[in-house]
């Protein structure tokens, strides 16, 4: 998504009127565009103010006690964020720990999953992802802003690398476009998350992750998005599960990674 397209969607994003894939593309844009991040904040504040135009309505008296009972049953998140189990997690892949606040969670990947150590993906995985990618290429073209001219056609990618899952289902392919310093991410079989969690994407340069947006799979576990990525400085693409709204740094091990080297 370029700035002109972000301009067009600014209002719709602010009032929650974008479908998930467009919202994800918009968020990926503002993750790397300070101007639109600022304008989005302003527009979201305007949209939020609409709530104050609604007259208060006294809720039923029973709601208060029911609500407080529910609060009493729910533990609070720790400072670094503790989210409920994923609906589609496998028992083997989820290892929630009784960590202290600030300690990274280790529940998404196997113990010791290194940030920069990725084994080659099996050929069948890459093929499956490529087929899925082809099926949704039209959608990618719409959200990536190539205007249908094939700018981000797979055949024009400078590099194609597998995206490998760690400890749970999921696979995919990353298509890197050197001229634009962008990467097209196509994944499948990604599990559904609770509303309190999100898939966050990272570009990792010399072990230091930087957020590059959010991945929003559809109901079938497919997701595609275009993200900023410079393979001259970053070596690894990764996805982690984070509290809704994202984190400034990863708090879990990566569930998906791709090694990228120019």
């Amino acid at each position: 998504m370029n700035c002109a397209e972000a301009d067009e969607l600014l209002g719709a994003y602010a009032v929650d009127a974008l479908p998930a894939d467009e919202a994800a593309a918009f968020r990926a844009h503002i993750a790397g565009c300070a101007d639109h991040a600022s304008r989005t904040a302003e527009m979201r504040a305007l949209a939020s103010s609409l709530a104050s135009t609604v007259d208060p309505v006294p809720p039923p008296a029973s709601l208060r006690s029911r609500l407080l009972d529910a609060v009493g049953r729910e533990p609070q998140d720790s400072l670094a964020g503790t989210a409920p189990p994923r609906r589609k997690d496998t028992a083997a892949s989820v290892g929630a720990t009784g960590r202290s606040p600030g300690t990274p969670r280790r529940r998404a990947g196997p113990p010791g999953t290194p940030w920069r150590s990725v084994r080659p993906l099996q050929a069948w995985g890459a093929l499956a992802a490529a087929i899925i990618a082809a099926l949704i290429v039209w959608n990618v073209a719409l959200q990536s802003g190539d205007g249908g001219d094939g700018r981000y056609a797979f055949s024009r990618a400078s590099m194609t690398v597998p995206i490998r899952a760690h400890g749970q289902p999921g696979s995919g392919t990353a298509f890197y476009f050197e001229d634009d310093k962008r990467m097209l991410i196509v994944v499948s079989d990604v599990g559904y998350l609770e509303p309190t969690e999100t898939y966050q994407m990272w570009a990792i340069a010399d072990g230091q992750p930087s957020s590059i947006g959010f991945l929003e799979p559809n109901a079938n576990g497919l997701a595609s998005t275009l993200v900023p990525f410079d393979a001259n400085t970053a070596q690894t693409f990764a996805v982690t599960i984070e509290p809704a709204g994202g984190s400034s740094q990863p708090t879990t091990d990566p569930i998906l990674t791709a090694e990228v080297s120019s």
Binding site: D7, E8, L9, L10, G11, A12, Y13, A14, V15, D16, A17, L18, P19, A20, A23, A37, T40, A41, E42, M43, R44, A45, L46, A47, S48, S49, L50, A51, S52, T53, V54, D55, P56, V57, P58, P59, P60, L63, R64, R66, L67, L68, A70, V71, G72, E74, Q76, D77, S78, L79, P195, T196, T198, N218, P243, A244, G245, G246, S247, S248
Partner: protein
């Protein structure tokens, strides 16, 4: 019992302010949730009912929103965002999700976690302050031309996506996008000088 009598700052009406309530909630004091509910339960229920048009669903939305606030409160910095705005953002998100679920539409509203809220709405300066002045916002909405106001209300209060609005109104999708943006910009033009006065 939260320490509302001790260290809480009070507003002109002698009530403990929202920030102090939030701090109490962050310390795990459930009575502070009750105090926040007593303060904003009516606004939250009014918003939820306006969006869902269903009393039972609105109750569920409000309950979910307060539970969500309770759970996520430790990660919210009240110095960087208004508690009331965050609460109503959660209510809006949950209500829109409920409406979309009921209609069999898969799209979820935007995340409403503390980090997302602060990043996209929670700035205490300038426009974020205007949520305190409901009458100014109402007047700003009245200033918006009817076709722009309608699409904003369809999105915000009915949970419709731009595609659904285009289908409903018969307007081209690009026109709907423009109306949403220009309508909000007109709100901004009206409110900014009043906020900064």
């Amino acid at each position: 019992m939260p320490d509302l009598e001790g260290d809480g700052l009070r507003n002109s009406s002698g009530e403990v302010d929202d920030t102090s309530l939030l701090r109490s909630i962050q310390r795990g004091e459930q009575d502070a949730v009750a105090a926040l509910y007593d303060r904003y339960g009516g606004v939250a229920y009014g918003l939820a009912f306006r969006i869902t048009a269903n009393a039972a669903t609105a109750e569920d939305v409000v309950q979910d929103a307060f539970v969500s606030l309770w759970k996520q409160a430790p990660r919210f910095d009240p110095e960087r965002g208004q508690v009331r705005s965050w609460l109503l953002t959660i209510v809006h998100h949950r209500a829109v999700d409920a409406v979309r679920r009921r209609a069999g539409r898969p799209e979820r509203a935007l995340p409403e976690g503390p980090e997302e809220f602060v990043a996209t709405t929670g700035r205490p300066e300038e426009l974020a302050e205007m949520v305190l002045d409901a009458e100014a916002v109402r007047e700003a909405v009245r200033q918006i031309p009817g076709d722009q106001r309608r699409v904003i209300e369809m999105a915000y209060f009915m949970g419709m996506t731009h595609v659904e609005i285009a289908r409903e109104t018969g307007a081209p999708l690009g026109t709907v996008k423009s109306r949403l943006r220009i309508g909000l910009e007109k709100m901004r033009e009206y409110l900014r000088p009043r906020v900064l006065e």
